[in-house]
C-alpha cells in the first residue's frame, strides 16, 4: 500500500476524494467573492468616491498572510473548512473588485450614452450592457483568483488537516513518503492549470464579439511578471 495514489487512511479520503474536497474549498470562496464583488463594483462605478477607500481596505486585507488569517478565525469558526474558505473569499474579492470596476469602466462612453438614450434604466444598463462588455476583464480576474485560491487551500493543512491535497504534505513528512509530497504538488498544479484552461474556454464561448487575437495585453509600463520571476530565480 505504498503506491503513488495510495492515500494514508488518517486523511479519510481517496485521492479523488481529496481532489473533490480541494476544488470545493478553493472554488466556493471564489464564487462567494464574485457574488459579493459584482454589486460592490457597481457601487464603486456609480459613486466614484467609494472606489479608493474600497481599494485601500481590500489591499490591506490582501496583505494579511493566509496563515495569520486562519489562526485569527479559529477562535470564531474552529478548525473547519469555513476557516479556510473565508480568507480565500476575501482574497478573491480583492482581486475581482478592481477587475470588474476596470472592465465596466472600459465600456465606451458613447455606448453608455446610446443605452441611456434608448431608455435603459441603471439596472438594465448594468446587466445588459456593462457586465457583458466587462466579461473579458472579469474572467481575467477570475483566473488569478482561482489559481491563487487553489494553491492557498493547501495552507489549511496547518490548522487541523483542512488543507485537502495540502494534507498530503504533512503526511509525507509524518510517514516519510516523498511520493505523497510530489503527488500533492503535481495534482494541485494540474488542477490549477485545468481550471484556468476551462476559464479561458468560457471566455471564448461568452465573447464571440471580440476580435480574435485581441487578447488583453500587459500594460507597457508594467514589466512582464514572468520575466521578473526568471530574474529573481537567477539571483
Amino acid at each position: 500500500m505504498n503506491g503513488f495514489f495510495d492515500i494514508p487512511s488518517d486523511l479519510q479520503h481517496s485521492w479523488i476524494g481529496l481532489v473533490g474536497l480541494h476544488l470545493r474549498e478553493a472554488l466556493l470562496p471564489v464564487l462567494a467573492g464574485l457574488v459579493l464583488a459584482l454589486p460592490l463594483a457597481q457601487l464603486c462605478v456609480r459613486f466614484r468616491w467609494l472606489y479608493p477607500p474600497v481599494l485601500w481596505v481590500t489591499t490591506v486585507l490582501y496583505a494579511i498572510p493566509s496563515l495569520a488569517f486562519f489562526v485569527v478565525l479559529i477562535d470564531y469558526t474552529g478548525q473547519t473548512e469555513l476557516t479556510v474558505m473565508i480568507p480565500l473569499a476575501v482574497y478573491s474579492l480583492v482581486v475581482l473588485v478592481p477587475a470588474i470596476v476596470d472592465g465596466v469602466r472600459s465600456v465606451p462612453p458613447e455606448t453608455l450614452a446610446a443605452a441611456e438614450a434608448m431608455g435603459f434604466g441603471p439596472v438594465r444598463r448594468y446587466v445588459q450592457v456593462q457586465l457583458p462588455i466587462a466579461v473579458p476583464a472579469i474572467i481575467a480576474g477570475l483566473r488569478i483568483a482561482v489559481v491563487s485560491s487553489i494553491s492557498l487551500v493547501s495552507v489549511g493543512a496547518l490548522i487541523g488537516n483542512q488543507g485537502a491535497l495540502g494534507n498530503l504534505l504533512t503526511d509525507a513528512l509524518f510517514y516519510h513518503r516523498t511520493e505523497l509530497a510530489v503527488n500533492s504538488v503535481l495534482t494541485t498544479a494540474v488542477l490549477a492549470i485545468l481550471i484556468d484552461g476551462l476559464l479561458v474556454g468560457l471566455r471564448i464561448l461568452l465573447t464571440p464579439w471580440m476580435p480574435s487575437g485581441a487578447r488583453p495585453k500587459p500594460k507597457a509600463d508594467r514589466p512582464d511578471p514572468a520575466a521578473v520571476a526568471l530574474e529573481d530565480v537567477s539571483r
Binding site: 431608455g119 435603459f120 450592457v129
Partner: protein, 400 residues
C-alpha cells in the same frame, strides 16, 4: 412618404423649446434662454462652435440633461410630465462613433428598442432586417458583430437602430463627424434619401456649417454661451447672415455656396454650337457662325465628345482624338447654378456643357451668361427680402 410614418399634420411645430436655460452647479451656463420651434417632418440643424450648447440642447429634448429653467413641449405636451424612459424610446438617437453594443450582433443591435417595447424576437428581427435594407446595409452583415464593420457601416447601423421602433423624432448628435469625407458625403446623401421616404422630425447637431447647409431645412446657428445667433433656412442664412458672428461662421465663400440654392433651370442654353461627329463641312460652317467661338462635337447618340474650332473642323474634318476636353457637364435643370458655374470655370473654353438626365448634350452656356443668371437670382432674392422665414415645404434644395 414611406409606409411607416403615421399620418400627422404636415409642417406644424413638433418640438417647442421655450426660453430654456441650462445652468450647471458651478455656475457655467451651457444654454441661455433658448427658444426654438422645431418644425415637423423636416431636418432642423443646430450648428455652432464647441461650447455653444448645441449638444446640451439636443440632450434636453430626450431629458438626458434636465433644463434649469424653461419648458420643452413635444407635440404640445410638456416632456417633464412624461416617464423618462417612455419618452426616450419614442425618440431615435444617433451618436458619434455609433455607440453600438459591441457584444450584440448587428441585427440584435437594431432590434434593441423594439425588444424593450415588448415585441417578439422574430418580429423585432424581421423589422431589423427590413431597416438594414433601408439604410443600405447588405443582409449578409446581420449576424456579424460591430468590430467586423467599417466606421461608415457602423454609423448606418446606428441610424437603423434609431429608426427601429419607428419613432416620430430622430435626435442626431454629430453622427457623421468621425468618418472620412467620402463616407460622410455618402451618409449625408443616404440620410436625405431616407428622410424623403420617412419624413421624420430630425434634430441634427453638427459643428460643420457645410453639413448644416446641406442637410438642414432650418438651421439654428448658436454661439458660445448658449445663445441663438440666427434661426433660418440655409439659403436665407447664406444671403442674410444676422450678424458678424454668423457671417464669420459661414466662412469666406458663402456667396459661391449660396449658388447651390439656385436652379440652373433658368439658364439660356444655346443649342446652335453643337454638331454631331458625322456632320458635313457645310453643316459645320453653318453652325460656326453663331456667338460661340467653339463648337461642341457629340457622338451619334448626342453625348458630348469635346470642343473644336469651327474653321479647323470645317477644313480638316472632325477627328475626335484632337478635340479639346469639355470637363465635367452639369445636368440641366437638376443641378444648381453653382454646379453650372463650376463646369464653366473648369472648361478650357470657358463654356459649360449642359446634359439631360441620359447624358446627351442639352446645350452650352458661357461664363458670362451664367454670371447674368446669378445676378438675376440675387436680385430676386433681395426682392423677396429673405427675412420672412420660408416655409419648409417651399425650400427646394438643389443638388450640387
Amino acid at each position: 412618404m414611406g409606409g411607416y410614418g403615421q399620418p400627422r399634420r404636415v409642417f406644424g411645430v413638433l418640438i417647442r423649446i421655450d426660453s430654456v436655460t441650462k445652468r450647471y452647479p458651478d455656475g457655467t451656463v451651457a444654454v441661455d434662454r433658448l427658444s426654438l420651434e422645431i418644425p415637423d417632418r423636416s431636418i432642423t440643424v443646430l450648428v455652432g462652435p464647441s461650447g455653444c450648447g448645441k449638444t446640451t440642447t439636443l440632450r434636453m429634448i430626450n431629458r438626458m440633461v434636465e433644463p434649469s429653467e424653461g419648458t420643452i413641449l413635444l407635440d404640445g405636451k410638456d416632456i417633464q410630465q412624461q416617464p423618462v424612459n417612455t419618452l426616450r424610446r419614442s425618440m431615435g438617437y444617433v451618436i458619434q462613433n455609433a455607440g453600438l453594443f459591441q457584444h450584440r450582433t448587428i441585427v440584435d443591435n437594431i432590434a434593441t428598442v423594439p425588444r424593450m417595447l415588448g415585441w417578439g424576437k422574430d418580429k423585432a428581427r424581421s423589422r431589423a432586417r427590413e431597416l438594414m435594407e433601408r439604410v443600405g446595409l447588405d443582409a449578409s452583415l446581420a449576424k456579424r458583430y460591430p468590430y467586423q464593420l467599417s466606421g461608415g457601416q457602423q454609423q448606418r447601423v446606428g441610424v437603423a437602430r434609431a429608426l427601429a421602433a419607428d419613432p416620430p423624432v430622430l435626435l442626431m448628435d454629430e453622427p457623421f463627424s468621425a468618418v472620412d469625407p467620402v463616407v460622410r458625403k455618402g451618409l449625408q446623401d443616404e440620410l436625405l434619401r431616407i428622410q424623403d421616404e420617412l419624413g421624420k422630425t430630425i434634430v441634427f447637431v453638427t459643428h460643420d456649417i457645410d453639413e448644416a447647409v446641406k442637410l438642414g431645412t432650418m438651421v439654428a446657428v448658436m454661439r458660445t454661451g448658449g445663445h441663438l445667433a440666427q434661426f433660418a433656412p440655409p439659403a436665407e442664412l447664406l444671403s442674410h447672415p444676422a450678424d458678424e458672428f454668423v457671417e464669420d461662421f459661414l466662412g469666406a465663400d458663402r456667396g459661391i455656396r449660396r449658388l447651390s440654392f439656385f436652379s440652373s433651370a433658368g439658364l439660356d442654353l444655346l443649342t446652335a454650337p453643337i454638331v454631331a461627329v458625322d456632320a458635313t463641312a457645310e453643316q459645320i460652317a453653318a453652325r460656326g457662325t453663331g456667338d460661340a467661338p467653339y463648337l461642341l462635337v457629340t457622338d451619334r447618340g448626342g453625348k458630348p465628345l469635346g470642343w473644336g474650332e469651327p474653321r479647323e473642323l470645317a477644313a480638316d474634318g472632325i477627328r475626335p482624338a484632337e478635340l479639346l476636353p469639355y470637363g465635367r457637364p452639369f445636368v440641366a435643370g437638376t443641378d444648381s447654378l453653382r454646379a453650372a458655374l463650376d463646369c464653366a470655370v473648369l472648361s478650357p473654353t470657358g463654356w459649360a456643357v449642359a446634359v439631360d438626365a441620359e447624358g446627351r448634350a442639352a446645350g452650352v452656356v458661357s461664363q458670362q451668361a451664367i454670371g447674368e443668371a446669378i445676378r438675376g437670382a440675387h436680385a430676386e432674392g433681395r426682392e423677396n427680402g429673405g427675412t420672412t422665414p420660408a416655409k419648409s415645404d417651399t425650400v427646394t434644395k438643389v443638388t450640387g
